[in-house]
Symmetry: C2
Subunit: 461 residues, 2 copies
């Protein structure tokens, strides 16, 4: 293990070229325009896995994007680590083909200030490469002390539907002692952390249909329900005056976190002023009675991800639109169930819809929340690995994000996941100018390699 | 006057061809892409006016679209009728270049079922042609018994800014006894009506800026004010539970209509079931305590004309958008002042904006409400003209729409307007498949010709 730094240093250029090759394939999740790109990316990853030292790699076709499964077996009696990652990415912008806000083309990686700028640079192509190259190092230098499996999917950003089916189908093949995932972040470059909690998600679409065509807002305004007015009113009714979510039953299953744990959470490094400055806002905003870290870590949330209706060009058009739509997602915490929450959301909106309109609610995708206790063997190994490379014991944190498949792995395969991410808050994932620092990429490879070492030690104690 | 039917019948094809030529120029209001089309349309109208019998026609350039002014002087001692109309049109769709919902190209007129289908077929190119061809008939047959002026503008759909300046500049030139306007409708083909009231308008744009870039809705959701959530909440606060507008001071200047007048209004033919059926809605919806005709005729209203934020494509994107925007217009009734209302609207929204966002309110355009009493000489003449051609006394009605320039004419020129429109509710103005019935076009020409006759008689009584 002592030559890992040297190995990375000697292979830097090749590793970057390999990663850039993957980034250049615009694997935009769930888009009909990118079906071929998903196939290309799967083939690219298959070849990379084989070159990195996998014995066997298969591409499994699904109803959506293909799944790449690879493995290297050392010895049946040894423990097995399964790496999960995803090669699909968010769209570059909010409108088809838009690259608004990007300083360089989203699918042409560019290095500026020691950072890679591109869609997927961090989430999750960059982090998948951390796993691939740590594995490569161990395999090539004959230091691999466990069996390794890889499962790489292309539907993470749109709900991981196909991999859920796949897990049920190939339970035996996917057996492992631990699932290792690099799809989260650390608090800062000088403050490593391990994500011990992820929120779940229920992603909804609401459509309000009013009249059968756009109307003149003068001739009809005031007498015909305006679907956009109605939609804003219904969405406003989802919150009370304290920014609690007002859907009846919404909080019924929320795990109440003890006072002690909240005190512990409050010790995590957090600077409200810096947080606001980085986002260009004057103040945070949220549920009364909770801190920022609690609002994203242990409390559910509800956000409009998109809303649209009527005339949206420059100038004025006096139209009473026939239809208004919104995409709304809720982040869930233990023990909320996305299907139940989706139903409560739908029932509530339908119950408050006025009779002049027709309201349709669609449940686009869901994922359960996840908790990885710090008592786990894998947590101890991960903690030692971060300490080795960062010279600092990592802080356990709860992320506000969701990786729906993680809780499904636990349910279907009975296997826990350890979340060893290397992203930073400033990486702008899901946003324009997504980036990933070269420092984090390479220290990530190093840290993951050490994880294997410590995991084997801990398992054989 | 007895050969008017014959004249129309002999010139039908030519009249339609001339109108179609104007429709084919896509004079979309306020669009930078159509600046040249405005010039083309002005030249087209100048030529048509000269061919129709005007002595003198001038095109006046403005900061916006050109104004076409034409006149025919018969005798200084005779009364003068000034015709106002507009050659600009609404965009075909809600998105640039979109023709969604149209069954034929919006700027290529097509006759189906005895109706002209095209943007501007009714509003207002078709109705401008009613005026042009009634004038042509009288001029060509030497039956014109008054002086005639024409003032045709290209900014009606975006607030008539330039013509307001023009009126102040050319007060002398624009002197007239009455302004005659065809830019409204009748109740039904068998129920002629004259519009005696128009609502005013204040058209606003609201922008809510949150963080300086789109955020991941998981990592930040719950802790950072979501501009789309905030915007929906602020818009919802514009109404109370009875659908009264909740902006403080909003109703202060609203003219209260007497019980007697409301009883009179209730006699106008109106069938709630047919109204709903035509719009494909189950029920009307609006301010508590008022009927549908009252809600659009004597009460102000507030409608979202457009709203947009975040991710609006197919699929899912877990984004907390940096910005949310809405176009909102209010229809005003006597004696509400648009500038005052715009200020109240802005003040209220700014007062309720939470501190996590920055709210900007822009006042895009305004127009005052207008009332044309049925005691006017011109009203009597108009009533006789409709009775002559429709065999039925027209009903006085209040339209929910706005023609901002009409109240300005009264203020600046001191001249009242008479609104002799021929549109139908089914004409889908401002919407896809706008249309204008050939019957209404030709009976309109006939009715306007009779108006001149009766107006002269009434004036010389």
């Amino acid at each position: 293990m002592n030559n890992i730094k040297e190995y990375i240093s000697q292979n830097k250029e090749r590793i970057l070229n390999e990663l850039f090759g993957l980034i250049r394939i615009p694997t935009v999740s769930g888009s009909a325009d990118h079906v071929d790109d998903m196939q290309k990316a799967a083939i690219y990853l298959k070849e990379n896995l084989l070159n990195s030292g996998a014995d066997k790699v298969e591409i499994y076709q699904t109803e959506g994007a293909p799944i790449v499964y690879g493995e290297k077996k050392i010895n049946e009696s040894l423990q097995t680590v399964m790496i999960y990652g995803h090669y699909d990415v968010m769209p570059a912008g909010n409108k088809p083909g838009s690259t608004e806000g990007w300083d360089s083309p989203p699918f042409e990686p560019e290095i500026r200030n020691e950072k890679i700028y591109a869609r997927g640079a961090d989430d999750d192509k960059g982090q998948v490469f951390i796993q691939l190259k740590a594995f490569e190092y161990l395999a090539k230098t004959n230091q691999l002390n466990c069996n390794v499996k890889f499962i790489l999917e292309g539907e993470e950003e749109t709900g991981s539907d196909s991999i859920a089916v796949f897990c049920n189908q190939y339970k035996e093949m996917l057996k492992a002692d631990i699932i290792l995932v690099s799809d989260t972040g650390i608090i800062a470059q000088d403050t490593p952390s391990i994500t011990v909690g992820l929120r779940g998600i229920a992603y909804m679409q609401v459509e309000v249909q009013g009249p059968n065509h756009d109307l003149h807002s003068g001739i009809y305004g005031g007498a015909v329900a305006n679907p956009a007015n109605v939609l804003t009113k219904m969405i406003a009714a989802l919150f009370d005056e304290n920014n609690h979510i007002a859907i009846p039953g919404f909080y019924d299953d929320v795990l109440v976190i003890s006072h002690e744990e909240r005190v512990e959470m409050a010790k995590a490094p957090y600077d409200e002023q810096k947080y606001c400055e980085a986002l260009g806002i004057k103040s945070t905003y949220g549920e009364k009675g909770y801190s920022t870290l609690e609002r994203t870590g242990i409390r559910p949330s509800l956000d409009i991800n998109g809303i649209w209706s009527g005339f949206t060009q420059e100038g004025t058009k006096t139209v009473l639109p026939e239809k208004a739509s919104a995409k709304i997602s809720m982040r869930l915490v233990p023990n909320q169930q996305p299907d139940k929450i989706a139903k409560l959301f739908e029932d509530f909106l339908l119950s408050i819809a006025p009779k002049g309109v027709t309201v349709k609610v669609k449940y686009l995708h869901g994922g359960e929340p996840y908790v990885a206790p710090s008592e786990m063997i894998a947590y101890r190994a991960a903690s030692k690995a971060y300490e080795k490379t960062f010279n600092k014991i990592p802080v356990p944190t709860r992320s506000g994000g969701s990786i729906p498949i993680i809780s499904l792995f636990e349910k279907v395969l009975g296997t826990k996941s350890i979340l060893m991410g290397f992203g930073l808050e400033s990486d702008a994932i899901h946003a324009p100018n997504e980036n990933f620092s070269l420092f984090n990429l390479f220290i990530g490879i190093e840290t993951i390699a050490w994880f294997y070492q410590y995991y084997a030690e801990e398992m054989n104690k």
